[in-house]
Structures are given as C-alpha cells and as structure tokens.
C-alpha cells in the first residue's frame, strides 16, 4: 500500500484490464441469453404497439380526468 492509500503494483495492468472487459462482455451476453430464454423475442412492432396502447390509455385517463373536473366546475356554478 502506498503513502496515499493506493495499492503499489508495478506489474503491467493490461492483461487484467482486458480480462475484466472480457468478463463484462460475457456477463452482457449471458444476461441477454437468459432474458431471451425467459421472455422470448419481442419484435419491435409489438413493442411499438405496446407503447401506443399505453399512450392511448394515458390519453383516455387524462380526458376522463378533464371531463370530471369540468363537470365538477359546472356543478359548482
């Protein structure tokens, strides 16, 4: 350990760095393989359709909220 708290190691770090990067790539690849095995492939079109459905639901909820507010205001008048 050096005076400022860092580890003293004069050996080259490149093999360790390359090894760490390869492990990270392997983790990403294994993760994708596990998730795909679990959930299957979701086509982009299906994702877009899901997003559109969600947006539509949110819009409808907003409209209903606005309408209810309007009714309340009219009733108050």
């Amino acid at each position: 350990m050096s005076d400022d708290g860092r580890m003293n190691d004069t050996r080259t770090h490149w093999p360790q760095i390359i090894g760490s990067i390869l492990v990270a790539v392997a983790i990403v690849a294994i993760t994708i393989a596990i998730v795909t095995a679990q959930f299957g492939t979701t086509p982009s079109a299906e994702i877009e359709a899901q997003e559109n459905r969600l947006e539509l639901q949110e819009d409808l909820a907003d409209e209903r909220r606005d309408a209810a507010e309007e009714r309340r205001e009219k009733a108050a008048e």
């Binding site: 350990m1 708290g5 860092r6 770090h13 360790q16 993760t31 994708i32 998730v35 795909t36 492939t41």
Partner: protein, 143 residues
C-alpha cells in the same frame, strides 16, 4: 441506436437493463466487502489484503464496462424522461465518480489515493440509488 439496442436484446431492453443493473448492484456489495478486507477493516484468514485489493480492482473494471453498457442502453431506449429525475441524476453522477475513481487508481502521478475510500462509498450509495429507482421499481411493480 435504439434500434440496435432492441435488436441486440431481442426486444427485451428493459428486462436486460434490469438484470444488468442487478448484477452491478450485487458486484458493488461484493466490492464493498473486498475493500473492507483490502483496507484491513475486516480480517478473513483465507484472504490477504493485497489479493482482496487486486480482486477489487479487477471487478471494478468489469463494473465500469457494465455500467456504461447499461447507461447506453437506458439512454438510447428511454432517453431523459421527466419522471426519471432521481434515476437520471444518480446514474449520471455515479458514472462520473466511477471514472474519476478509476483514474485515481490507475494514475501514478496523482497522489490523492486517500480519496479512494470516500469515493468508493459514494459510488456504492449512488449505484444503490440508481438501482432502486429503476430495477427496484421494475421488480416490485412490474414493467
């Protein structure tokens, strides 16, 4: 970029992101234990301090790559959403602190190694906040 990420993850970008974030969180906990052993705060008979620090450094490099891959996926698919404030801020800061910490570890000229423990704790806390505000929500509430 979004198309590339969706193709790469077979359309399961959110699920892959949650899994990777959870792997990072688990490794971050392990890193905390290794750092405690490396700095002599915890003593384990079968693990010497220098070995723990070398493992900490190697796993730290892996976490750095995983964090950037996960952040890239997150930004390309979701961007900066209005309701993801804490997640976006914590995620951006943790990447910055992680780069600074790795720079200090790798630099022979910078003599500010005493900053490593507080920076390490900051990285750990920020990782946990980032995980809890995305993967945690996802796992508890569903997609």
């Amino acid at each position: 970029m979004e198309e590339f990420v969706l193709d790469l993850t077979n359309g399961n970008a959110a699920e892959v992101k949650v899994m990777l974030a959870s792997v990072i969180a688990a490794l971050a906990i392990y890193q905390l234990v290794l750092a405690a052993i490396g700095y002599g705060k915890v003593r384990i008979p079968f693990l010497a301090n220098p070995t723990a620090l070398r493992a900490h450094r190697a796993i730290g490099d892996t976490i750095l790559v995983l964090a950037f891959v996960t952040a890239g996926m997150c930004l390309s698919v979701y961007g900066f959403e209005d309701d993801g404030g804490v997640h976006a801020v914590a995620g951006a800061i943790v990447l910055g602190v992680l780069v600074v910490k790795t720079g200090i570890v790798r630099s022979d000229s910078l003599r500010i190694g005493r900053l490593l423990p507080p920076l390490g704790i900051a990285v750990f806390v920020l990782f946990m906040i980032t995980w809890a505000t995305s993967a945690g929500d996802f796992l508890i509430e569903g997609p």
